[in-house]
Amino acid sequence: MSVAKRGERPLSPHLQVYRLPLNAVLSILHRITGVAMAASAVLVVWWLLAAATSPTAFAWIDGLMTSWLGDLVLTLSLGALWFHFANGIRHLIWDTGSWFGQRRVRQSAIGAIAVAVVMTLVTIWLAQGGA
């Protein structure tokens, strides 16, 4: 029966060659950024605890956070935060039943990326002493 011909039948969808739609990529990114920010939260809480403890404790975490590694991690964290923020707004709007059309989904996806990029740059500018 069908078992004999199993090897000849086409497989679909084939995950290795399937190109994820933009919205699917954002959906996965929403989870990844959310989970990753657990690490960012530890850093920020540590920084606050050190500020509440002593100049010595503060100097240590301050040194870590202002190092190139700290800059890298915090920049990625900021990107994650503003992306999660912007994409989260989309989710809240979807929860009301709106913006489900294909055009709206695509437009809001691009909008969320734009907001994330702009807000990340603005925050970095602020951190550099911009205002």
Binding site: V35, A38, V42, V45, W47, T66, L78, I89, H91
Partner: protein
């Protein structure tokens, strides 16, 4: 086919066992915390960014101000809750069985610790002890 005959109807047996009573609670609380964070993030993140790399006394002085302290407390409490809720959903989706339960417990305790330490730090700075 039922092996054990019972006079209770199937509906009576599942009453109170299903998720219908509190099933949307987690979902709803996660939306509420998301809305709160959408506002709090602006103030908290921009304040942290502005003072990152600043001297000890400057950072303390900033978080000692009532507005900044209240925003920080609000953000830390809400973000810890939102993180716990989000991580729980991810674990429930991908990790099953005993490992999943253990992870759920660990995540919940981790988020509680995060909230506890963060709140303590802000209170200590703001109330000046």
């Amino acid at each position: 086919m039922e092996k054990h005959k019972s006079f209770r109807t199937p509906r009576a047996r599942v009453l109170g066992l299903g998720s219908a009573r509190s099933g949307t609670g987690h979902f709803w609380e996660q939306r509420i915390s998301a809305i709160a964070l959408a506002f709090l993030a602006w103030f908290f993140i921009l304040n942290v960014a502005r003072h990152l790399g600043d001297p000890y006394e400057v950072v303390r002085a900033s978080f000692a101000r009532p507005f900044n302290a209240i925003v920080a407390l609000g953000f830390i409490l809400t973000a810890s809750l939102h993180l716990a809720q989000g991580l729980a959903v991810v674990i429930e989706d991908y990790v099953h069985g005993r490992a999943g339960v253990i992870l759920l417990i660990c995540v919940r305790l981790f988020c509680a610790l995060l909230a506890l330490v963060g709140v303590f730090a802000i209170l200590k700075i703001a109330l000046g002890a």
